[in-house]
Symmetry: D2
Subunit: 428 residues, 4 copies
């Protein structure tokens, strides 16, 4: 089984986190999935992903003090495997896990994903729960020093065969439920120890192996970022996507910084291997964080974001409460010209970047297209330009309906709004 | 209560660790105490200290894999307070704790000490045990990120009043048992996070306050080292002694390195505040480590060690199986001339140190004595010297019975054996 | 002018350093060039590069104490521009610079390159020499803190327009001489300050601009490494090749480590942008270092080296005294099958790497070829294998004449000698 | 010669830097010295110190761009030894150096000091000037990598005997002039390389040796800070005072931070060894910096500063334009009660420090005095207290004329103004 075939193009879909934080419910998931099937699936958005702590009955209950309540109750089976909280996911009652929900998602033509933390529940180790399919107990494989410093639920696993058995046991369970996408957290950059930022590298390998054993093409996504550029080959060998940024939110500062991350990672993408700019915080977000709002991004910033994600070929996971999505945002998310930039044969490169802006160029031999994007980092509009020796002289229409650009003496110029973008494509 | 009065001179005694590791028993402690009362007490050795994991029935049982077995059984009461394992400490049965053993130690004219780890048992937090004297539970005060990376038993405590209550609860229990000396570990230098080497600083303050509340003059000793020189004032304000070195063992390399630590810490000692060079691995050591041996130190190295510890005014805690001690070692440990260097009015200073050796000078106005010690770091004997403008010209007897020294033209010279020392004292 | 057109494929040639250190002479250069024209040019080796300190009459004269004599005499014109030492390069006498030598090299059908250090001679700053084409002096543009910690000849330049003028003045001089290749040192990784490893980044831009102004397609090569992966975009925008390793020499340890560098940099190469594994220390090397020898590499290690450099598409700069080259080495350097792996359309990727070995795969759609290389890191021979789902079952000839490989059940296996390689290519 | 006898108490005096920057003149020095002789000498202020770049004719001439003009003209003799600029120091004309000025200073009953940078002038190395008393030249001993990153005049010296000869040559010259105090810069903390903050340690030893050779009791002062606490023994062995802080100026933030430095260094002082809190920026300062002003410190902050410097026993070097000093500041600088705290037998210790304030206690057995100082860090007045078990109950007068304090139940309390201090002394 070649894991690169699981994600020949950057995955697209929806993730519960940006709107619901830890406290999403089955009803929320179904509502978002239904919207997605109707409005976004035709544009290739297919993954519905339930993010962190679906196994936590207390999720969100002390939100002023803790995002993740320490030593809280976690639903798990006798083998230390988390199960959905039946109060929040009623269809999971009676040990059915996510199977009924996955089945429903599948019935909509979509795919189903879940989030997990690296490792085994701390409680399973302290309670010496048996590891499924082995005659050892969780305390043998749990590494008491391998902790996550922002979610206290887990211990990482030691590098030993019985740890593989545990990962096999959970991932075969997920495969049985019908999971198509697995977002694993505290693994791409393990923040706890500044001198060991990839301390779960062996667990990445174990998880990939466990997926392979299931025979199910489960897309493997690694979080959080910023990913370590010197580990690019390791991510690429074992995972399908990995976060190149810390949690991304709707601020210009964060969007500006993404250009720095994309500069570094621009060379690495290929079918099955996608550096990931994180979810798109558009529409209504922040509800579970007690900060519900329409995205803070201006319309121009949203275009900049979508343009960068598409050019760079990041996965596109929408963070919104989808049923509340407005038409303009929907149009942007499904813009055919933008999405076409994510072609697996495209070769995007940053042409320049300075404090005032950036230029990206993408060549796609398969489409016979060459694209130039002018990004303006400044707080006011600016006339920008880029060398375009292979662009025909004359006037060019803007991809997103902005003003035409002009090509003269091998140079493309256009007026670009504050924090905005102008994109021009020609046939090669 | 002024904690500096608890230890007006550097504490002396015996500690179980160097010989017994985690697995010392009540019989061992009694045998060592009896020897100490007979042979060492007249020289001021008075503390009998039971070191780490007296609460662990499994201590030492997987010694080839673990020094501290992760997630092992720990004896504790319903408030998350460790109790001695009654199998190893029979007199502690029926909830008596260390009271009977302490009583016996006291009956010998000695004082009784125990070792604890910073924080609360991880199990107490996971099991939500009540905190004595409060209406909250252990999970509220345990910090899931505050771990020790070499002993997985504990979580450090958050900086909040209820954490003080927990420390009050254990230390009043110890005071009730008759504990006179408390060695707290994973606190002087918290190794887990390289960027936070004193993450339990607030716990030092809580422990000091808890001791003060008991009204009992319990000596507070902090481990492990190397202590952080920039925290000297904090140690000095709250503790009586603190480890300036990582675990010290019987190798010349470690002894040589102690000169570097002593150089740094030479200015800090004062009554009640004693930088600590760690236990003296003399005689029979290493049994609990499956490496029983007579100390690897040569006789000259032992003299060097004792001379440095005494000059520097380190606490003197013997690490041996005392009943097996030979006469020569006993003589060295009780040498009146050496021990006199630990006078509270002494002012010891390193005069020089280079790759070949070091010279220390100690002035004690109360005794009217000036001492010069010549240490030879080389692997062969060497003639060494030091400026001694206030030493009378002529021949001087060596303190430990070595060859005489000569003072001429304001300079003291002597032949010093490999890794050895020569000490000369004059009346000022 | 598009600098990527200067080096559409990885440059090949010869560099004086590995054999002659700082002390190469015109006669040496001519002899090596003549050999190259005859034996290597047909295989694309075309650059003849004179490495460091061609301007130093004292080069090599205190080789036991200094590689670069501090404050030594340097030949320069009145504008602080280095000139070849006429004693070592007689044709440069009377201010002709390298023009006569370049002319000769060109007459052989070859191209001519030189090495420079970033910045301006320290002496020029201390003597306040005028900067050509400006009314300011060298002390204005020299940054007294921007030093190289291994060659004390230079000060880096401040980020100001007059610094551009200095770079313009030297590079137009070189262009006038007929220089085709410029190796700039102390710039790819500036080692002096651990917290500022790319302190000459603005100078890279100035040098690129100065080259562009000459209108001459001078290949720009940056040294030393290891290059900083997070600066890949900067190197790629301004330079043609840059060193991904510190100085490479003929030891297995260094060759083994190159696999780590290649793993990190595998994604970045493209026409005009070539991560550089450094010179090939084959044949006779080390003469100027007072360590003349035949390369320490075994024949298998040399094959491993050439295979990796070719697969990875590193520039190939031979380090030998060429006229002494033996036939076997020449055959390896000119092996058509190996050199074909450097195709600009190839896409090489590391498939796996562990402590025992590595597998690389290169797909070249233009040639319709897929190549697998099995590298054995072990000190003895080993049977190795790699997934080869698109390789036809059966027996495959080895590229370098080694034993056949076998493909069975989608897996290629072969026996690989110690530190050796086996390469197999199929048509896609 | 015992260097500790050169400074049995913390040196007091005046330094030109805070007011005149690099551009002080002989007339300035004389005017300040005359004031000092009249008003401050009775209180022990005796050193008149000419700070940095007395050898620079261009000092201060490009003050908007550079504090130290790179590659500027420096007055030196044929041996690379700086001489005073005769334009600024007329009495130094005709090679007399500072001898006439020193003589005048001495005639006032004062002592004379100068500032130098570690190393040899860069120009001396580039010009291969001879080293006095040797047959080698400056380029042999100058280390081209040993630079100062804030003053570009010098190269540090290599660790070799000829370097000692250079230091001997300059310091014997200074001794001949009558220099009594030598402030050596770029040596206590060498900021250029973050990984080598004490790269001139061997030069400290050479300078101390050169002073000893002169037979003149020249006080050795090391700058800049912050000094490295782990090098305390080295400073103490070779120097008389060393800066524990970076440059100190008249801001509350800097004064507040000094408490942190004093906390760390409180244990180290002894006769001849004085950790140094830097000059006192009182009165008129900043003229040479184009920022002439009356000190920004409030009267209470000045009291806090003086109290801390005196308690801690820092040297007291006034930074003002002395002739402009007002009576209040003069009274504070010469307050007998404050100055008495600098007794060589005093033992000052920080009792506590938190975000609100600090308490220091000083015991002086020779005087039979115990002092408590309450420092208020807050921006408003506060009632503060400290344990004072050995203070008699009742009312106590404040040392500086502030409100009385009260002792009750072994505790001293007083109201302390914002950023202010209250000091109370009792006879033991």
């Amino acid at each position: 089984m070649d894991k690169n075939l699981f994600a020949p193009t950057p995955p697209r879909g929806w993730n519960s986190y940006d709107c619901y934080d830890t406290a999403v419910t089955e009803a929320d998931v179904r509502a978002n999935a239904e919207y997605m099937a109707r409005h976004l699936l035709p544009s290739g958005y297919e993954y519905v992903v339930v993010d962190i702590q679906w196994y936590a009955p207390d999720a969100g209950m002390q939100r002023d003090r803790f995002q993740y309540i320490p030593f809280g109750e976690r639903v798990m089976d006798g083998y230390g495997r988390f199960l959905p909280d039946p109060a929040r996911f009623p269809s999971s009652a009676n040990g059915k896990g996510f199977a009924p929900l996955a089945e429903y998602i599948h019935s909509l033509g979509l795919k189903f994903g879940i989030h997990i933390m690296r490792g085994i529940p701390r409680d399973a180790a302290h309670r010496h729960l048996p590891v499924y399919g082995t005659d050892i107990t969780a305390d043998i494989i749990a590494d008491p020093n391998s902790i996550c410093d922002w979610d206290p639920d887990m211990y990482g696993l030691r590098d030993m065969p019985e740890s593989q058995a545990y990962y096999d046991s959970i991932i075969s369970l997920y495969a049985g439920w019908g999971v198509d996408f697995l977002k694993v957290d505290d693994i791409c950059n393990t923040h706890a120890y500044v001198d060991r930022p990839y301390m779960g590298g062996h667990e990445v390998e174990m998880i990939a192996r466990a997926i392979e054993k299931t025979g199910r093409p489960i897309v493997l996504s690694l979080s959080p970022g910023p990913a370590l550029i010197e580990k690019a080959a390791h991510y690429c060998t074992y995972a399908n996507m990995w976060r190149i940024t810390d949690d991304f939110w709707d601020s210009w500062q964060a969007l500006r910084k993404m250009f720095d991350f994309c500069e570094i990672w621009q060379y690495v993408a290929s079918p099955g291997c996608w550096p990931d700019c994180d979810m798109l915080p558009v529409g209504t977000v922040g509800r579970g964080f007690n900060a519900e709002r329409l995205t803070n991004f201006t319309p121009d910033e949203q275009k900049t974001m979508l343009a960068l994600w598409c050019l760079f070929r990041s996965p596109l996971m929408v963070g919104a409460d989808l049923p509340l999505l407005d038409g303009g945002t929907l149009s942007l998310l499904t813009h055919p010209g933008l999405l076409a930039l994510q072609s697996p044969t495209a070769r995007p490169r940053q042409v320049m970047k300075d404090s005032a802006g950036a230029v990206w160029r993408s060549e796609d031999p398969a489409r016979g297209a060459v694209t130039l994007a002018l990004f303006n980092f400044q707080d006011g509009p600016a006339r920008m330009g880029a060398d375009a020796p292979d662009f025909p002289a004359g006037i060019l229409p803007e991809l997103l309906g902005g003003p035409d650009g002009a090509v003269k003496n091998g140079r493309l110029t256009a007026r670009v709004p504050a924090h905005g973008v102008r994109i021009y494509t020609v046939k090669a």
